[in-house]
């Protein structure tokens, strides 16, 4: 009796052990457009990578500061040749290279961030960061005294325009008199220019500075002037402890671990994933101490509504800058419309060129 028990236990262990051994170590690669550093866009992806690295039976590696174009193609081929199971490329400009490489290595799963192309073994993904931007807009709208909010923005592409619009809708939901002034820098990471852009907005009377840039330059401008700021990507409070109200932040790990799981189970299919706050991929950084409790509660209530699907943000009536109604009352903008945003909503001062 006893012997059978021991034997059974032994058999069970062997079986489980062999099952684990059969499940081979997964290799997951990441490609970043800028150095990881300790703040910003690539850093936020790397935090996601670290979450994947903690999964049992998975090893990860990354290549940082990979220029978009032919260089990225080589990096992807290299990873695929080394039998990586999944490759995440985290910048828009990697898209066409990835399509090419995906064709050459049909056994590898390719995932491209912020693009729109797909293949049998390639999907794309991004997060609905605009939901967090809307919430940060509420904070900015409530905290401004001059009713002028500055927004330092990178490039006039739909992703950025959508963010500015969501932010402005948030601002105007609590403060219909406030306007959002936009300055384009045409850079993603140029601290000097981005800080100067922030200062130029302060000079025209802005008392809250928001940004769609990867460097904390605009945060510094607000900190030095003694006004408020809204960060981006990751919690930027350490660069502007007195100014930083909050920031729309990324939490890529939620998505990355899910994809790795799906690939391992064999359930992964190419798709265009656009998860949102409900999935936890985007969030709001902790509020600064200057944000009053009532406002925090209000924003949190609004956040709960977004998660519950009751607040979809881009619901008509939405007017454009000239005051003409672009989206009729009660109409919800479709995802393709959101992905192709080329116009500003009412309340934005600036142009999309």
């Amino acid at each position: 009796m006893r012997v059978t028990k021991v034997l059974l236990a032994l058999l069970l262990t062997l079986w489980v052990g062999s099952a684990v051994a059969a499940e081979k170590e997964m290799k997951v690669g990441f490609i970043y457009v800028s150095p990881v550093g300790d703040a910003g866009y690539s850093y936020s992806h790397d935090v996601g990578r670290q979450a994947v690295a903690k999964m049992p039976g998975v090893t990860t590696s990354y290549v940082e500061a990979v220029p978009e174009g032919p260089d990225s193609e080589r990096v992807m081929q290299n990873m695929a040749r080394k039998d990586f199971d999944i490759i995440f490329a985290t910048s828009f400009g990697y898209m066409d290279s990835m399509v090419k490489v995906a064709k050459q290595f049909p056994k590898t799963v390719f995932l491209h961030c912020s693009g729109f192309k797909m293949a049998e073994n390639m999907g794309n993904y991004f997060g609905r960061i605009y939901q967090a931007r809307y919430l940060s807009g509420i904070v900015a709208g409530a905290m401004t005294k001059s009713n002028t909010i500055g927004y330092v923005a990178a490039f006039p592409i739909p992703e950025v325009i959508r963010g500015i619009n969501a932010f402005t809708l948030g601002v105007r939901s609590v403060n219909p008199k406030a306007t959002v002034r936009v300055v384009w820098t045409k850079t993603w990471y140029d601290p000097a220019t981005e800080k100067e852009a922030g200062k130029s907005l302060l000079d025209v009377g802005a008392d809250v500075i928001a940004q769609h840039q990867d460097s904390p330059g605009p945060q510094e401008a607000a900190e030095e002037k003694g006004v408020y700021s809204v960060g981006y990507n990751t919690d930027m409070a350490k660069f502007a402890p007195k100014a930083h109200l909050t920031a729309p932040v990324w939490n890529w790990g939620v998505y990355y671990t899910k994809v790795v799981d799906a690939v391992r189970k064999g359930t992964w299919k190419p798709e265009a994933a656009w998860p949102g706050m409900v999935d936890g991929i985007v969030d709001l950084a902790p509020f600064g101490p200057m944000v009053p409790k009532e406002l925090q509660d209000k924003v949190n209530a609004e956040k709960a509504k977004i998660i519950a699907g009751q607040q979809k943000i881009f619901v008509g009536p939405i007017k454009d800058q000239s005051g003409a109604v672009k989206v009729a009352a009660g109409v919800l903008m479709t995802d393709p419309e959101l992905l192709g945003f080329t116009w500003f909503v009412e309340g934005v001062i600036g142009n999309t060129q």
Partner: protein, 306 residues
């Protein structure tokens, strides 16, 4: 635009002109000795990195500032070796220095991107800053801006009134005659190269220690090249360099403020302005070449020592 915005614009002009001013003065110093150094961009970025790293490790931005100057001198010493020891082509060596500098700074600086370091913060000069308008424009900056005010007059005095200054100019005007007069032309050219590199390094450090307190591999963003063009615009005179640097600083500050004030001009056009100005400046200054103080032997190597 209201008066207040104009004053803010002019104050921003001084600040964004300062890194260019340091670099332009450095290049004037080098070219006066007869050596052309097109490596300004690379030297600046190395200076920016050195300043940032030293300030970060020691917690002392002043130390970082001087370290940037030293690294600038060290980097240009490579140019000195090529041009003065091996009689290499000055244009090629300078371009190589730019490529080397940007590449090296990128390689060494990757781990520091996105990190914070202590830096200089604005400090209003007592009394002077209280002067209406002038005080607001010129005397409410960080200490490095005040340092940059001192360099042009000192450099002018050096060139016009000191033995060393005259010797350095002689090395750039007519090295053969200078040698005949018993001057060590090679030593003067070394001084020009290494001394100029010091200022270029300071210009880079201004970007990473005062203008922002951040480091990134593209921090200089072409300012070194603008400095090279400004030397021609300034007719190799330190005083005019101030004017030129502020003109460029002004146009950089202006285009962002035009956007902020809600202009309907496309931002792409506005962002072109500094570079359009560079071209215009070069065309205009080549028309008035006769009034220029261009060293006669600029870019001409001296024969190697026996």
């Amino acid at each position: 635009m209201t008066g207040e915005i104009v004053i803010a614009l002019l104050a921003a002009t001084v600040q964004s002109g300062t890194p260019i001013l340091f670099a332009t003065l450095g290049e004037i110093f080098t070219e006066k000795s007869g050596v052309l150094n097109l490596g300004v961009e690379g030297v600046m970025i190395l200076g920016a990195l050195a300043g940032f790293v030293v300030a970060r490790q020691t917690g002392n931005p002043t130390l970082g500032f001087f370290a940037a100057g030293l690294v600038g001198s060290l980097a240009t010493a490579i140019h000195g070796m090529v041009c003065l020891w091996f009689c290499g082509n000055q244009v090629v060596s300078g371009l190589a220095l730019t490529i080397l500098g940007t590449g090296l700074a990128n390689y060494l600086g990757t781990t520091f991107i996105g990190t914070a370091a202590p830096g200089f913060t604005p400090f209003a000069v007592p009394l002077l800053s209280a002067i209406p308008v002038i005080g607001q424009i010129f005397f409410q900056h960080d200490p490095l801006v005040y340092v940059s005010y001192l360099i042009p007059p000192v450099m002018w005095l050096f060139f016009a009134r000191t033995r060393f200054g005259l010797g350095l100019r002689a090395a750039g005007e007519y090295p053969a005659a200078a040698t005949a007069a018993g001057l060590n032309v090679r030593a003067y050219r070394w001084l020009g190269i290494v001394g100029g590199g010091f200022f270029m390094g300071l210009g880079g450090a201004y970007l990473s220690l005062a203008y922002t307190h951040l480091w990134t591999s593209s921090l200089t963003a072409g300012r070194g090249w603008i400095a090279v063009a400004l030397v021609i615009f300034a007719f190799w005179r330190p005083g005019r360099a101030v004017f030129g640097a502020y003109l460029f600083g002004g146009i950089m500050a202006l285009q962002l403020r035009l956007q902020a004030s809600g202009t309907q001009l496309p931002s792409s056009i506005l962002l072109m302005l500094p570079y359009v100005l560079t071209v215009i400046v070069l065309v205009l200054s080549s028309w008035r070449k006769r009034t220029s103080d261009e060293p006669a032997s600029l870019g001409v190597n001296i024969a190697p020592a026996d």
